[in-house]
């Protein structure tokens, strides 16, 4: 009798574990994130932030997994994920271009730089090239107005830009 219950219990625990871990390659990571947030659906924004920290964007499969595990319908999660500009639903490129559009850069011609970049990589602001070589975003201030117009590619700062320099600067990044 006792044995039976024990067996049953083990069975249930195993089932739970297989649900927890066997789901997709990132099941373990997701569970870690959820545990850190107390498996609390009301902490969904924090959970999405963790997810984005880990993957650089919000991968779709993993979002569905989170939706299942938290019992929070996907339509809510999708609403939040698209509501906040900070969340990305598509993977970023290998090199992220951040062009400053703050006041100083703007005055010093960041607009034409933007056009030049768009022409070179072939996607507009907010986009990622098809080969994932570049993602392109604009930011408000990089905090080095003396270098205006300025951009960063990855962690490297490129200042005092001119449209004609763009090709040369970006060529290096693969």
């Amino acid at each position: 009798m006792v044995r039976d219950t024990e067996h049953e219990l083990m069975g249930i625990i195993e089932d739970m574990l297989s649900v927890k871990e066997g789901r997709g390659p990132n099941g373990r990571v997701i569970n870690e994130i959820l545990d850190r947030n107390g498996n609390d659906p009301t902490r969904i924004v924090a959970i999405l932030q963790c997810l984005q920290d880990r993957f650089g964007y919000l991968p779709r499969e993993e979002l569905y997994l989170i939706s299942d595990l938290l019992g929070l319908p996907m339509n809510r999660i999708y609403h939040l994920a698209t509501f906040f500009k900070a969340f990305k639903l598509t993977p970023p490129g290998r090199n992220t271009i951040k062009l400053c559009m703050g006041t100083a850069c703007h005055v010093r011609g960041a607009g034409v730089i933007k056009d030049a970049i768009e022409r070179y990589i072939g996607v507009s602001v907010g986009g990622t090239t098809a080969d994932f070589r570049f993602s392109f975003e604009t930011v408000r201030c990089l905090g080095c107005c003396g270098l205006a117009p300025v951009m960063t590619v990855g962690d490297t700062v490129h200042g005092k830009l001119e449209p004609s320099m763009i090709r040369k600067v970006l060529e290096k990044y693969r």
Partner: protein
């Protein structure tokens, strides 16, 4: 609870919103996104009224469908300011949905002729009725809002065909402007895709073990019409709280934790 509405003193018992109180007093407040079966949402703002709380001096403009009635509350439902507000709101709706028949009729009722703002040709006024009925009553949670500001819209997650939708049509039924329509393919797909035959009424749990006499050719289905005749509303509303189909089984409580522990 005593309160004053448009100068008349009244009493009420129990918890209710200002909108409900006004209705029980026989005062008509226009409302658009309010539905008896759904949680108040406060999207359309047409139901604005002025209130003054006990012991306070100033009047405040609030959405009556969300504002709880309080002891000693004074309410004005048709002051000049309120009428102005409503007119502006309708003007904005008309500017957004300049071609929509329902919105135009609404505009006429509120005396709005031409919106001063640019004419959009949307149909959806973002009232959220469809989203709420799908989550709260049907329990399918197939559609939701996405983005915000001018790019906000109603869609399925990722904009892809949602396997959650059971093609019940409650969203189509509840939409005031006719902005959301049922793709008939969806109904047909349900019947093709499942291992067993399914129709929306089985999925909602009206027809157990449905043996369809029409061989699941939903186009010829009469249940639709009969449901309409019988309930005089969409079956999902008629069966409010009693849906027991596949979709409702997945219903999640508002704060529910279907925990993994």
């Amino acid at each position: 609870m005593r309160y004053t509405i448009n100068g008349k003193k009244r009493t009420a018992r129990g918890k209710m919103t200002v909108l409900e109180a006004a209705r029980s007093a026989g005062i008509d407040i226009p409302s658009l996104c309010d539905n008896d079966y759904l949680e108040p949402y406060g999207a359309c703002r047409l139901c604005v009224v002025e209130v003054r709380e006990k012991g306070r001096k100033g009047w405040r403009v609030v959405a009556s469908c969300l504002y709880p009635l309080k002891e000693g509350l004074e309410i004005r439902t048709d002051s000049k300011l309120i009428l102005q507000h409503r007119k502006l709101l309708v003007e904005l709706m008309l500017a957004r949905c300049s071609g929509n028949r329902y919105v135009r009729r609404l505009a006429k009722r509120f005396g709005v002729k031409r919106p001063r703002f640019g004419g959009g040709d949307e149909d959806c006024i973002m009232c959220g009725l469809c989203v709420r009925v799908c989550s709260e009553i049907v329990g399918a949670a197939a559609i939701g809002f996405s983005s915000r500001g001018i790019s906000r819209k109603v869609e399925t997650p990722f904009g892809i065909d949602s396997s959650k939708c059971i093609a019940c049509g409650a969203c189509t039924y509840v939409c005031p402007t006719g902005a959301i329509n049922m793709e008939y393919e969806r109904v047909i797909e349900l019947r093709k895709n499942e291992k067993e035959h399914m129709c929306r009424y089985t999925l909602m749990g009206f027809l157990d073990e449905a043996v369809c006499m029409l061989n699941y050719e939903c186009a010829r289905c009469e249940v639709d019409q009969r449901m309409r005749d019988r309930f005089d509303t969409h079956p999902a509303f008629a069966m409010h709280g009693r849906l027991r189909g596949a979709a409702a089984a997945g219903r999640v409580k508002r704060t529910g934790k279907k925990g993994v522990k």
